[in-house]
């Protein structure tokens, strides 16, 4: 009894600190980036697209998370990202689960119209390989030399990366397979490391979990556009059950995003603004969030295919009737007809126009500056020590 009371008090204290502990530790860095890189007005000049799709749950009752990730996989593949550029992390125990009445299939709608598992699925990280460590390694590129190409994110400074995560989460964390969790800080640091090594041009981060919007609140690297399914202290809900499968088959947010994506094809001109405007709070049952303060381009000029598509530009080359080996006289611009998706005049416009979306969103999601956070942390630590000392004293002299 003597021991359990201090425990109780300590735990209570630490819990109550946790409530107040929304202190971001990277404000100054964020500030730096705002001054240096923010709103530079760059346009998307990526040449390749990559996708990292993570389903962080396992077990049969999380069927819907598998379906979320596979639905997203199907969409990015349909829109032109090759399998070699998709890293799919999936517990993958739904399709061949003993409880699955439809073996080898994963459906995302109650009518079971579309088999998401299909015959052409390449899961790169499967089962117990889906860990926080592996996810961070994929992002940062810190791999053993023996890791095969298919498991690597071989991006460069001209890659647009789409990161999708789903699972069970909470305030600033996402649980990985019931035994570990990744925090918002870890993802933010991983993105910063990618930025430092020029491993991306732009990132689009999407997350469907409870309190999802907290997961992107710690980002501080430039050129990241983020969206989530629900705000802090809010749950994200599943969409519908299938009575034969017996569990919920997909989450609402992902369902409506995918439903919207079905209207998009490879050459679609719809923008991110259109996608975000399609969010319907009443249908989704939570408040989806968008964070665009790190993203320099106005959202209504960012095409969805910038992140979900394949190639942005091609150059048609002049006819060549050379018989022998001869050095082509000229590769320079004159002979080539540039057929960029984004016409260059449009690019220039967006380069010059002020950044509406970024500016507006900065107010909503911007720097929640808490200058005294370090001092507060120190106080907290000393408080803990004092409390311990008091308890010891009480136990020692109390008799």
């Amino acid at each position: 009894m003597l021991l359990s009371i201090p425990h109780l008090i300590l735990l209570l204290f630490s819990w109550s600190w946790g409530i107040h502990a929304a202190s971001p530790s990277h404000e100054e860095i964020v500030g730096d980036f705002f001054n240096k890189n923010g709103h530079a007005g760059s346009t998307s000049n990526h040449t390749n697209n990559w996708a990292v799709l993570v389903c962080a749950s396992r077990y049969w009752f999380n069927y819907r998370h598998m379906a979320n990730a596979l639905g997203m996989y199907r969409t990015v593949k349909r829109l032109g990202i090759p399998d070699s550029n998709i890293i799919l992390m999936l517990a993958d125990d739904a399709a061949c689960n003993a409880r699955n009445k439809f073996p080898g299939s994963v459906y995302a709608n109650p009518g079971r119209g579309l088999d998401l598992y299909g015959d052409n699925i390449e899961v790169d990280y499967r089962g117990y390989e889906v860990t926080v460590e592996n996810f961070i390694r994929v992002l940062t590129g810190r791999m053993e030399p023996s890791v095969p190409r298919s498991k690597r994110l071989l991006t460069d400074a001209r890659s647009n990366v789409f990161v999708y995560m789903t699972g069970h989460g909470g305030n600033e964390f996402l649980k990985f397979q019931d035994n570990e969790e990744i925090s918002a800080f870890d993802i933010a640091d991983a993105f910063e490391q990618m930025w430092q090594k020029r491993r991306y041009n732009e990132i689009f981060f999407m997350i469907d979990t409870c309190q999802a919007n907290t997961m992107y609140s710690k980002f501080y690297s430039p050129n990241i556009l983020a969206t989530g399914s629900s705000k802090m202290d809010q749950n994200s809900y599943s969409y519908e059950n299938d009575n034969d499968i017996g569990v919920a088959v997909i989450d609402r947010y992902t369902h409506y995003v995918l439903e919207y994506m079905e209207r998009i094809n490879k050459t679609s001109h719809e923008t991110m603004r259109d996608l975000f405007d399609s969010y319907d709070r009443d249908k989704i049952g939570s408040d989806p969030g968008v964070r665009a303060d790190l993203f320099p381009r106005p959202l209504d000029e960012v095409r969805i295919t910038d992140f979900f598509g394949g190639v942005a530009q091609v150059e048609v080359q002049p006819p060549c009737v050379a018989e022998d080996v001869s050095l082509p006289g000229d590769f320079s611009s004159e002979g080539d007809v540039s057929l960029s998706n984004d016409s260059s005049s449009e690019d220039q416009q967006s380069a010059q126009s002020p950044v509406h979306a970024g500016g507006k969103a900065a107010g909503a999601w911007g720097q929640s500056t808490d200058r005294g956070s370090d001092g507060w942390r120190g106080t907290r630590a000393w408080g803990g020590i004092l409390l311990l000392a008091a308890l010891v004293g009480w136990a020692g002299w109390g008799k």
Partner: protein, 499 residues
């Protein structure tokens, strides 16, 4: 009635007389706990601390200030007018002033040579020669034959600018890698529809068309080549129907590669891959033509995807038999297109339009310009990477830094030093050192051991460790305090008894 019944003959024993309740033994037992804990602290510290070796931070920052500079010596030969060299010098200075970014890292010197007699005695290793001679401008290895006159001088200066610092489309050029894989694919859209192409003389075509280029570029890159023939490679869209045949609109071209269904390269290594594809449309869709922006068929049959590779569409003539090899005339056309695309993707600069060349593959001007640009890029990349390692290690507190990371950082710095030392002597050596520096710096950055520990908020640490340690520590501390107070009381009493 007494509270306890004892057997006959036994007496109550005083607890303080038990051997383990004597003051000495009891204190020894309590002290032994503390001794073990104190002795274990260094071990605990050792096993839980992260190895963070110090990096040569100041050297990295100092190195980042360095800028690579290449001396470029231009000799003017057999010029009639003695004022021409200085006039050319002025014109070049003017161009350098106008676009300093393009001329970054170049120290251009123009000298005059008369009748084989060098005005300067010193002869730099790699210098360029401009020979005054009438006729069409001719570019040879490191020599330019040009009608040098007062009137042509500005044009000559422009020509020199495009030879020394050719404009480059950074968007198209693949990022530098010491190794590339070239994947050649012959795709039949649908061989079952008949009249397909069943094979090609790929090794002959490579040795005829590509080998000279590849060996010319061997200073820069190592190439691995793989090839394949596929017989079913459907498009993901339907081409536009034309009066005669089918057409690909500009938008179709951007989604032409059906990566979901074509497997284009093996994944045996992590080297970057450049793809080269000959696409044979299905017999029912011939001819397949590329349309221009106005929807009219263009004469071109090849296009390039920046940093990815090149595609050539080949429509076999109707009189061709079914299932034959790719005819040699077509093979030549396809491979000259591939050669063009390869050079474009690797950033090999072209020659100015009005100039002819007698070199078979690449002139020294082109290769040097490419080497200089790649070396500058690599040096910058290596410096950036080193700086970001230092910055990240500083910023992320629980990121380990092992011996191998430090070694790689030091080796990269050494390679950079060697690179600067060789910049005025040998371009090849400079490039090699710059590539080494970049590889080493990247390897240090991507070291698997550099994975930071996960972030845990302070309250998590409290919640985890308090139940574990407090239950063990509180009785120990309490016992120690009680023992000390008892001992002090005893001492006080002993002192009073003495008085």
């Amino acid at each position: 009635m007494p509270p306890h019944i004892h057997p006959e003959g036994t007496t109550l024993r005083d607890p303080s007389k038990l051997f383990h309740q004597t003051d000495y033994i009891r204190r020894l037992i309590i002290a032994s706990y503390w001794v073990i804990i104190i002795l274990a602290i260094p071990l605990w510290w050792q096993t839980t601390s992260i190895e963070r070796l110090s990096l040569p931070t100041s050297r990295v920052h100092a190195q980042a200030e360095n800028k690579l500079r290449f001396p470029v010596h231009i000799k003017l030969e057999s010029v009639q007018d003695a004022s021409l060299p200085s006039a050319l010098r002025h014109l070049l200075q003017d161009r350098i002033r106008r676009s300093p970014q393009a001329w970054k890292g170049l120290d251009v010197r123009v000298r005059e040579v008369r009748d084989g007699q060098d005005v300067d005695a010193v002869e730099p290793a790699d210098s360029y020669t401009i020979k005054a001679d009438d006729g069409i401008p001719l570019v040879s290895q490191r020599q330019l034959t040009y009608p040098v006159r007062g009137g042509t001088l500005p044009i000559l200066a422009d020509a020199l600018a495009s030879l020394l610092v050719p404009p480059i489309d950074a968007h198209r050029v693949a990022q530098y890698s010491p190794r590339y894989r070239l994947a050649f694919t012959l795709l039949n859209e649908d061989a079952a529809a008949g009249k397909s192409i069943s094979g090609w003389d790929i090794s002959g075509a490579i040795s005829r068309h590509l080998s000279p280029i590849l060996s010319g570029l061997s200073v820069l890159h190592n190439f691995t080549i793989e090839s394949q023939v596929q017989f079913h490679a459907p498009l993901a869209f339907s081409p536009t129907r034309l009066d005669k045949g089918y057409g690909l609109t500009p938008e179709d071209l951007t989604v032409f590669v059906n990566s979901a269904e074509w497997s284009l390269s093996s994944s045996v290594s992590n080297d970057p891959v450049l793809h080269f594809i000959v696409f044979i449309p299905s017999a029912s869709r011939r001819p397949l033509q590329i349309l221009d922006a106005h929807g009219l068929p263009s004469s071109s049959d090849a296009f390039l995807l920046p940093q990815w590779g090149g595609i050539v569409i080949y429509n076999p003539p109707p009189e061709l038999d079914a299932h034959v090899q790719l005819p040699s005339s077509a093979l030549n056309a396809v491979f000259s297109a591939f050669a063009n695309q390869l050079l474009a993707l690797l950033g090999v600069p072209g020659l100015p339009r009005e100039m002819r060349t007698d070199a078979s593959v690449l002139t020294g001007w082109q290769l040097d310009a490419l080497l200089r640009r790649r070396a500058l890029e690599n040096a910058e990349g290596a410096q950036d990477t080193l700086e970001s390692i230092v910055k990240l290690v500083d910023q992320i507190e629980n990121m380990p830094v092992g011996q191998d990371v430090r070694g790689d950082v030091q080796d990269a710095l050494t390679a950079l030093d060697k690179m600067y030392a060789s910049a005025s002597a040998s371009l090849n050596e400079t490039l090699r050192q710059s590539a080494d520096a970049l590889t080493l710096a990247s390897r240090a950055f991507f070291n698997p051991g550099m994975l930071a520990l996960l972030y845990f908020p302070a309250e998590h640490n409290f919640a985890v460790y308090t139940p574990l340690f407090a239950s063990a520590m509180i009785p120990l501390i309490a016992a120690a305090i009680r023992e000390v107070s008892v001992w002090r009381k005893q001492r006080r009493e002993a002192a009073q008894a003495l008085e």
